[in-house]
Symmetry: C2
Subunit: 134 residues, 2 copies
DNA sequence: ATAATAATAGTAACGATTATTGATAAGGAG
DNA sequence: CTCCTTATCAATAATCGTTACTATTATTAT
Protein backbone atom coordinates (compact mmCIF):
# COMPACT_ATOMS: atom_id res chain seq x y z
CA UNK A 1 0.00 0.00 0.00
CA UNK A 2 1.13 3.53 -0.58
CA UNK A 3 0.77 6.61 1.51
CA UNK A 4 -2.41 8.39 0.47
CA UNK A 5 -1.25 11.70 1.84
CA UNK A 6 2.23 12.87 0.93
CA UNK A 7 5.16 11.07 -0.63
CA UNK A 8 8.31 12.44 0.92
CA UNK A 9 11.89 11.70 0.08
CA UNK A 10 14.82 12.73 2.14
CA UNK A 11 17.44 14.25 -0.10
CA UNK A 12 20.87 15.65 0.57
CA UNK A 13 19.51 19.06 -0.40
CA UNK A 14 16.58 19.03 1.98
CA UNK A 15 18.70 17.70 4.82
CA UNK A 16 21.35 20.36 4.24
CA UNK A 17 18.83 23.19 4.05
CA UNK A 18 17.06 22.05 7.19
CA UNK A 19 20.38 21.71 8.99
CA UNK A 20 21.40 25.18 7.85
CA UNK A 21 18.23 26.71 9.28
CA UNK A 22 18.47 24.77 12.52
CA UNK A 23 22.05 25.78 13.12
CA UNK A 24 21.47 29.45 12.32
CA UNK A 25 21.40 31.87 15.20
CA UNK A 26 20.50 34.77 12.94
CA UNK A 27 17.52 35.07 10.61
CA UNK A 28 18.92 34.33 7.16
CA UNK A 29 17.22 35.04 3.84
CA UNK A 30 16.74 32.29 1.26
CA UNK A 31 19.70 33.67 -0.67
CA UNK A 32 21.96 33.61 2.39
CA UNK A 33 20.87 30.08 3.23
CA UNK A 34 21.62 29.12 -0.36
CA UNK A 35 25.15 30.48 0.01
CA UNK A 36 25.67 28.58 3.23
CA UNK A 37 24.39 25.31 1.80
CA UNK A 38 26.68 25.76 -1.20
CA UNK A 39 29.59 25.13 1.16
CA UNK A 40 28.33 21.55 1.23
CA UNK A 41 26.47 21.23 -2.08
CA UNK A 42 28.18 23.71 -4.39
CA UNK A 43 25.65 23.66 -7.21
CA UNK A 44 22.42 23.73 -5.25
CA UNK A 45 19.82 25.94 -6.85
CA UNK A 46 18.14 28.95 -5.25
CA UNK A 47 14.84 27.60 -6.53
CA UNK A 48 15.39 24.40 -4.57
CA UNK A 49 16.11 26.40 -1.44
CA UNK A 50 12.86 28.32 -1.87
CA UNK A 51 10.85 25.17 -2.58
CA UNK A 52 12.26 23.23 0.37
CA UNK A 53 11.86 26.19 2.70
CA UNK A 54 8.23 26.44 1.60
CA UNK A 55 7.71 22.76 2.36
CA UNK A 56 9.44 22.98 5.72
CA UNK A 57 7.35 26.01 6.49
CA UNK A 58 4.13 24.16 5.69
CA UNK A 59 5.04 21.20 7.84
CA UNK A 60 5.88 23.59 10.65
CA UNK A 61 9.59 22.84 10.87
CA UNK A 62 10.66 26.39 10.03
CA UNK A 63 9.01 29.75 10.19
CA UNK A 64 8.91 32.32 7.42
CA UNK A 65 9.21 35.92 8.54
CA UNK A 66 7.84 38.33 5.95
CA UNK A 67 9.58 41.69 6.04
CA UNK A 68 7.83 44.53 4.19
CA UNK A 69 9.95 45.65 1.25
CA UNK A 70 12.72 43.15 1.94
CA UNK A 71 13.26 39.44 1.30
CA UNK A 72 11.70 37.01 3.76
CA UNK A 73 13.78 35.59 6.59
CA UNK A 74 13.66 32.05 7.93
CA UNK A 75 13.80 30.93 11.49
CA UNK A 76 13.76 27.64 13.33
CA UNK A 77 10.37 27.47 15.02
CA UNK A 78 10.55 27.74 18.75
CA UNK A 79 7.72 29.44 20.52
CA UNK A 80 5.76 32.14 18.75
CA UNK A 81 7.49 35.47 18.98
CA UNK A 82 7.63 38.81 17.22
CA UNK A 83 10.52 40.26 15.24
CA UNK A 84 12.37 43.53 14.99
CA UNK A 85 13.65 44.72 11.63
CA UNK A 86 16.37 47.36 11.55
CA UNK A 87 15.71 49.57 8.54
CA UNK A 88 19.35 50.67 8.52
CA UNK A 89 21.32 47.42 8.52
CA UNK A 90 18.49 45.02 7.68
CA UNK A 91 19.11 42.76 10.64
CA UNK A 92 16.22 40.87 12.17
CA UNK A 93 16.14 40.04 15.86
CA UNK A 94 13.67 38.30 18.14
CA UNK A 95 11.34 40.23 20.36
CA UNK A 96 9.60 38.62 23.28
CA UNK A 97 5.92 39.36 22.79
CA UNK A 98 3.13 37.00 23.68
CA UNK A 99 1.71 36.40 20.24
CA UNK A 100 -0.78 33.80 21.37
CA UNK A 101 -2.33 36.22 23.81
CA UNK A 102 -2.51 38.74 20.98
CA UNK A 103 -4.38 36.27 18.78
CA UNK A 104 -6.72 35.37 21.60
CA UNK A 105 -7.48 39.02 22.22
CA UNK A 106 -7.96 39.76 18.53
CA UNK A 107 -10.24 36.76 18.20
CA UNK A 108 -12.85 38.62 20.17
CA UNK A 109 -12.33 41.78 18.12
CA UNK A 110 -13.10 40.26 14.72
CA UNK A 111 -16.30 38.31 15.12
CA UNK A 112 -16.70 35.20 13.01
CA UNK A 113 -13.28 35.13 11.42
CA UNK A 114 -10.85 32.28 12.03
CA UNK A 115 -7.37 33.54 12.80
CA UNK A 116 -4.76 31.01 11.74
CA UNK A 117 -1.63 33.02 12.14
CA UNK A 118 -0.27 36.35 13.26
CA UNK A 119 2.76 38.26 12.23
CA UNK A 120 4.14 41.04 14.37
CA UNK A 121 7.06 42.99 13.01
CA UNK A 122 8.58 46.09 14.52
CA UNK A 123 10.63 48.46 12.43
CA UNK A 124 13.19 50.98 13.53
CA UNK A 125 16.87 51.37 14.35
CA UNK A 126 18.74 48.73 16.27
CA UNK A 127 21.05 49.69 19.10
CA UNK A 128 24.16 49.57 16.88
CA UNK A 129 22.71 51.66 14.05
CA UNK A 130 21.22 54.17 16.46
CA UNK A 131 24.72 55.10 17.54
CA UNK A 132 26.19 55.22 14.06
CA UNK A 133 23.40 57.18 12.40
CA UNK A 134 24.71 60.71 13.07
CA UNK B 1 17.84 81.48 -3.52
CA UNK B 2 16.19 78.10 -3.45
CA UNK B 3 14.49 76.14 -0.73
CA UNK B 4 17.05 74.02 1.07
CA UNK B 5 14.59 71.60 2.62
CA UNK B 6 11.80 70.10 0.55
CA UNK B 7 10.02 71.58 -2.42
CA UNK B 8 6.46 70.28 -2.52
CA UNK B 9 3.94 70.94 -5.22
CA UNK B 10 0.27 70.28 -5.04
CA UNK B 11 -0.83 68.71 -8.28
CA UNK B 12 -4.14 67.42 -9.55
CA UNK B 13 -2.68 63.92 -9.41
CA UNK B 14 -1.53 64.13 -5.82
CA UNK B 15 -4.78 65.74 -4.72
CA UNK B 16 -6.84 63.11 -6.49
CA UNK B 17 -4.81 60.22 -5.05
CA UNK B 18 -4.98 61.63 -1.55
CA UNK B 19 -8.74 62.21 -1.92
CA UNK B 20 -9.18 58.65 -3.18
CA UNK B 21 -7.43 57.24 -0.12
CA UNK B 22 -9.29 59.50 2.28
CA UNK B 23 -12.68 58.59 0.87
CA UNK B 24 -11.99 54.85 0.82
CA UNK B 25 -13.70 52.72 3.42
CA UNK B 26 -11.92 49.59 2.26
CA UNK B 27 -8.16 49.01 2.00
CA UNK B 28 -7.36 49.43 -1.69
CA UNK B 29 -4.18 48.39 -3.43
CA UNK B 30 -2.17 50.84 -5.51
CA UNK B 31 -3.68 49.34 -8.66
CA UNK B 32 -7.24 49.73 -7.38
CA UNK B 33 -6.55 53.32 -6.35
CA UNK B 34 -5.13 53.94 -9.80
CA UNK B 35 -8.38 52.71 -11.37
CA UNK B 36 -10.44 54.93 -9.10
CA UNK B 37 -8.37 58.01 -9.81
CA UNK B 38 -8.67 57.31 -13.54
CA UNK B 39 -12.35 58.21 -13.22
CA UNK B 40 -11.09 61.75 -12.72
CA UNK B 41 -7.71 61.71 -14.48
CA UNK B 42 -8.06 59.05 -17.19
CA UNK B 43 -4.40 58.77 -18.15
CA UNK B 44 -2.76 58.82 -14.73
CA UNK B 45 0.09 56.34 -14.46
CA UNK B 46 0.42 53.52 -11.96
CA UNK B 47 3.97 54.67 -11.33
CA UNK B 48 2.69 58.06 -10.26
CA UNK B 49 0.24 56.44 -7.87
CA UNK B 50 3.05 54.44 -6.30
CA UNK B 51 5.34 57.45 -6.01
CA UNK B 52 2.68 59.69 -4.50
CA UNK B 53 1.53 56.99 -2.09
CA UNK B 54 5.13 56.59 -1.01
CA UNK B 55 5.41 60.31 -0.38
CA UNK B 56 2.10 60.49 1.48
CA UNK B 57 3.20 57.52 3.53
CA UNK B 58 6.46 59.23 4.47
CA UNK B 59 4.72 62.40 5.53
CA UNK B 60 2.30 60.34 7.58
CA UNK B 61 -0.87 61.13 5.67
CA UNK B 62 -1.56 57.56 4.65
CA UNK B 63 -0.52 54.21 5.98
CA UNK B 64 0.92 51.37 3.95
CA UNK B 65 -0.20 47.91 4.99
CA UNK B 66 2.23 45.26 3.79
CA UNK B 67 0.57 41.92 3.18
CA UNK B 68 2.97 38.97 2.81
CA UNK B 69 2.73 37.54 -0.69
CA UNK B 70 0.15 40.08 -1.86
CA UNK B 71 0.26 43.70 -2.98
CA UNK B 72 0.32 46.34 -0.28
CA UNK B 73 -2.87 48.06 0.80
CA UNK B 74 -3.29 51.71 1.69
CA UNK B 75 -5.30 53.21 4.47
CA UNK B 76 -6.04 56.67 5.79
CA UNK B 77 -4.16 56.97 9.05
CA UNK B 78 -6.45 57.11 12.02
CA UNK B 79 -5.27 55.58 15.24
CA UNK B 80 -2.84 52.68 15.11
CA UNK B 81 -4.59 49.41 14.56
CA UNK B 82 -3.89 45.91 13.30
CA UNK B 83 -5.23 44.24 10.18
CA UNK B 84 -6.79 40.95 9.26
CA UNK B 85 -6.05 39.41 5.87
CA UNK B 86 -8.36 36.74 4.51
CA UNK B 87 -6.24 34.25 2.63
CA UNK B 88 -9.28 33.09 0.65
CA UNK B 89 -10.79 36.32 -0.73
CA UNK B 90 -7.85 38.65 -0.08
CA UNK B 91 -9.91 41.21 1.82
CA UNK B 92 -8.27 43.29 4.52
CA UNK B 93 -10.22 44.47 7.54
CA UNK B 94 -9.36 46.45 10.64
CA UNK B 95 -8.77 44.75 13.94
CA UNK B 96 -8.93 46.63 17.19
CA UNK B 97 -5.66 45.89 18.91
CA UNK B 98 -3.75 48.35 21.04
CA UNK B 99 -0.66 48.68 18.92
CA UNK B 100 0.83 51.45 21.02
CA UNK B 101 0.70 49.29 24.10
CA UNK B 102 2.37 46.56 22.08
CA UNK B 103 5.19 48.90 21.07
CA UNK B 104 5.58 50.12 24.63
CA UNK B 105 5.80 46.56 25.89
CA UNK B 106 8.24 45.54 23.16
CA UNK B 107 10.36 48.59 23.88
CA UNK B 108 11.40 47.01 27.15
CA UNK B 109 12.05 43.67 25.45
CA UNK B 110 14.60 44.94 22.93
CA UNK B 111 17.06 47.08 24.83
CA UNK B 112 18.60 50.01 23.03
CA UNK B 113 16.65 49.82 19.80
CA UNK B 114 14.34 52.59 18.66
CA UNK B 115 10.99 51.24 17.51
CA UNK B 116 9.46 53.56 14.95
CA UNK B 117 6.63 51.47 13.74
CA UNK B 118 4.85 48.17 14.18
CA UNK B 119 2.89 46.07 11.81
CA UNK B 120 0.48 43.48 13.11
CA UNK B 121 -1.24 41.35 10.54
CA UNK B 122 -3.48 38.40 11.22
CA UNK B 123 -4.13 35.79 8.58
CA UNK B 124 -6.98 33.36 8.26
CA UNK B 125 -10.51 33.03 6.93
CA UNK B 126 -13.02 35.85 7.23
CA UNK B 127 -16.57 35.14 8.37
CA UNK B 128 -17.88 35.01 4.80
CA UNK B 129 -15.22 32.66 3.46
CA UNK B 130 -15.45 30.41 6.49
CA UNK B 131 -19.02 29.58 5.53
CA UNK B 132 -18.30 29.11 1.83
CA UNK B 133 -15.13 27.05 2.19
CA UNK B 134 -16.81 23.62 2.45
C1' DA C 1 20.41 -4.10 -9.03
C1' DT C 2 16.36 -2.28 -11.35
C1' DA C 3 12.37 0.28 -12.12
C1' DA C 4 9.23 3.91 -10.87
C1' DT C 5 8.98 8.52 -9.90
C1' DA C 6 9.81 12.37 -6.65
C1' DA C 7 13.08 15.93 -6.38
C1' DT C 8 16.74 18.56 -8.51
C1' DA C 9 19.54 22.22 -11.38
C1' DG C 10 19.16 25.54 -14.48
C1' DT C 11 16.64 28.86 -16.45
C1' DA C 12 12.64 31.29 -17.92
C1' DA C 13 8.64 33.58 -16.38
C1' DC C 14 5.95 36.24 -13.20
C1' DG C 15 3.95 40.17 -10.41
C1' DA C 16 4.89 44.07 -7.59
C1' DT C 17 7.56 47.94 -7.29
C1' DT C 18 11.13 51.30 -8.69
C1' DA C 19 14.04 53.88 -11.91
C1' DT C 20 14.61 56.27 -16.23
C1' DT C 21 13.39 59.52 -19.77
C1' DG C 22 11.54 63.10 -22.52
C1' DA C 23 7.62 66.09 -22.10
C1' DT C 24 4.63 69.05 -19.31
C1' DA C 25 3.17 72.40 -16.23
C1' DA C 26 3.53 74.76 -11.49
C1' DG C 27 5.15 78.80 -9.39
C1' DG C 28 8.17 82.65 -8.65
C1' DA C 29 10.73 86.80 -10.70
C1' DG C 30 10.62 90.59 -13.64
C1' DC D 1 1.27 88.39 -18.19
C1' DT D 2 5.75 86.12 -19.90
C1' DC D 3 9.76 83.69 -19.20
C1' DC D 4 12.55 80.48 -16.73
C1' DT D 5 13.56 76.92 -13.58
C1' DT D 6 12.60 72.54 -12.14
C1' DA D 7 9.36 69.38 -9.77
C1' DT D 8 6.16 66.29 -11.48
C1' DC D 9 4.08 63.64 -15.12
C1' DA D 10 3.04 59.46 -18.44
C1' DA D 11 5.06 55.82 -20.50
C1' DT D 12 8.02 52.29 -20.44
C1' DA D 13 12.04 49.66 -19.19
C1' DA D 14 14.41 47.59 -15.51
C1' DT D 15 14.87 45.36 -10.97
C1' DC D 16 13.93 42.28 -7.30
C1' DG D 17 12.06 38.45 -4.87
C1' DT D 18 9.79 34.43 -5.85
C1' DT D 19 7.58 30.71 -8.54
C1' DA D 20 6.91 27.64 -12.58
C1' DC D 21 8.73 24.78 -16.05
C1' DT D 22 11.54 20.84 -17.97
C1' DA D 23 15.00 17.67 -18.88
C1' DT D 24 17.86 15.10 -15.82
C1' DT D 25 19.31 12.96 -11.50
C1' DA D 26 18.87 10.41 -7.40
C1' DT D 27 15.97 8.04 -3.79
C1' DT D 28 13.17 4.40 -2.35
C1' DA D 29 10.56 0.05 -2.89
C1' DT D 30 10.87 -4.23 -4.95
Amino acid sequence: MQAATAPKRMTRQKAAIQAAVMSSCDHPTAAVLCDRVRAVIPNISLGTVYRVLGALSEEGAVREISVPGAPSRYDKTTCAHAHFYCSACGSVTDVDVDEDALIRHADCACGGAVIEDAEVIFRGLCAKCKGVNQ
